[in-house]
């Protein structure tokens, strides 16, 4: 019994009550700040916290004060894993480095276009123009109809072979450049 009495006495301690009140007040302050917090009617804005559409990392955003919180400008974006630019190296084959991002499926587009043409949605001239290209794409597995792209495949193969024979293995296989320059006002005119 003694320990129980001691416990009751502890929970009724004024200092403990103060701490509990502070925690309750703090938690009440935290909850609204997650959604929409400060409203500044003089500036016609409010502060909200949004999440980055790709990473989920929160950031502070200032939005117009117009009753409803405006739609996130990045709404509808899908999350993808971070790209690995080593896949741009021509020595790296397709699929060798995992990639889970968006990609343009050219074959589907050609099939869709061909089906539209077959249904007569496209004009007769368009059908004539479509047919060989669609056939080429289907036959070559997506590597033939794209004129430059198909060329890139063929030429790329040759280049890969040529690269093997190169004596300079240090040659960069893909190039990324970043640069900035100041703009003077007179240049704008």
């Amino acid at each position: 019994m003694k320990p129980r009495k001691s416990s009751q006495a502890t929970s009724d301690h004024p200092a403990r009550r103060v701490v509990q009140c502070c925690l309750a007040a703090f938690s009440l302050a935290i909850v609204p700040s997650i959604f929409a917090s400060e409203v500044m009617e003089e500036s016609g804005t409010r502060v909200i916290v949004r999440e980055h559409p790709k990473t989920g990392k929160p950031y502070v955003s200032i939005v117009p004060f117009q009753g409803e919180i405006p739609l996130d400008p990045f709404t509808g974006q899908r999350k993808y894993s971070r790209p690995d630019y080593r896949m741009l190296d021509p020595k790296i084959k397709s699929g060798q480095i995992p990639y889970e991002g968006p990609y343009s499926d050219r074959k589907k587009i050609y099939i869709f276009a061909a089906s539209l043409a077959a249904l007569g949605t496209a004009s007769g001239a368009a059908v004539t123009a479509l047919a060989p290209a669609a056939t080429g794409a289907g036959a070559s597995g997506g590597a033939g109809a794209y004129f430059a792209g198909g060329g890139a495949v063929v030429a790329g193969t040759a280049v890969t072979a040529a690269r093997v024979n190169r004596s300079d293995p240090e040659k960069q296989n893909y190039t990324l450049r970043s640069e900035s320059r100041l703009v003077k006002e007179e240049e704008k005119k």
Binding site: R82, A148, V154
Partner: protein
């Protein structure tokens, strides 16, 4: 009439055929290894037209049509880059005004717009370049600095890989964003 229908048909084909290229819109791991956050407060404002920016530059006369959705990737990547580059980052979803900047104690606001997008497709590969202009304003909306940034990515056999054009576009955008952040971190007010 036949010519007109053929022309319209071919125009429709141009939209049906080709590549619809959406970049992943997320920075690579290289970015966070290159950029460290600095203890500055800065706001970012993106004009609405930036998020919708697209290009249909096919890169050569013989290439298939290509649609590059640049703005939808550039927006999230800029936000992420500013999160990585500055300890106190604020995203402005409303046009910056003196009242807003002073109310929230924002000393600097960066406004970014796309200036140019270039695509060069050859038999061997593809080179993409994105040019942007960044204006930095102080809390009185006075022009502090203005600079252009260019980011590019060039590689071979891009179109032969699943996700190749998408990652090449992402790399060019990231190179541009890196140039912007490094330039902003470099100046000392």
């Amino acid at each position: 009439m036949t010519v007109l229908s053929a022309t319209l048909g071919l125009m429709g084909c141009a939209r049906l055929f080709g590549w619809d290229i959406h970049a992943p819109g997320i920075l690579s791991n290289n970015f966070s290894q290159t950029v460290q956050p600095i203890p500055e407060r800065i706001a970012l404002y993106l004009p609405p037209e930036l998020l919708k920016y697209e290009s249909r530059d096919r890169g050569s006369r013989t290439a298939d049509p290509q649609t590059y959705h640049i703005g939808e990737a550039l927006g999230p990547m800029l936000v992420e880059a500013f999160q990585e580059g500055f300890e106190e980052f604020i995203f402005l979803e409303t046009e910056p005004t003196r009242e807003v900047l002073k109310r929230y104690g924002i000393p600097w606001v960066a406004v970014v717009r796309v200036k140019e997008f270039r695509n060069r497709v050859s038999w061997r590969g593809q080179a993409i370049a994105l040019a942007t202009e960044t204006v930095v304003l102080d809390s009185d909306l006075h022009l502090f600095t203005r600079f252009e940034s260019q980011g590019s990515s060039e590689s071979e056999k891009v179109f032969a890989k699943k996700g190749g054009p998408e990652v090449n576009l992402n790399a060019a955008i990231e190179s541009n964003v890196l140039a912007i952040i490094q330039n902003l971190q470099g100046w000392k007010p």
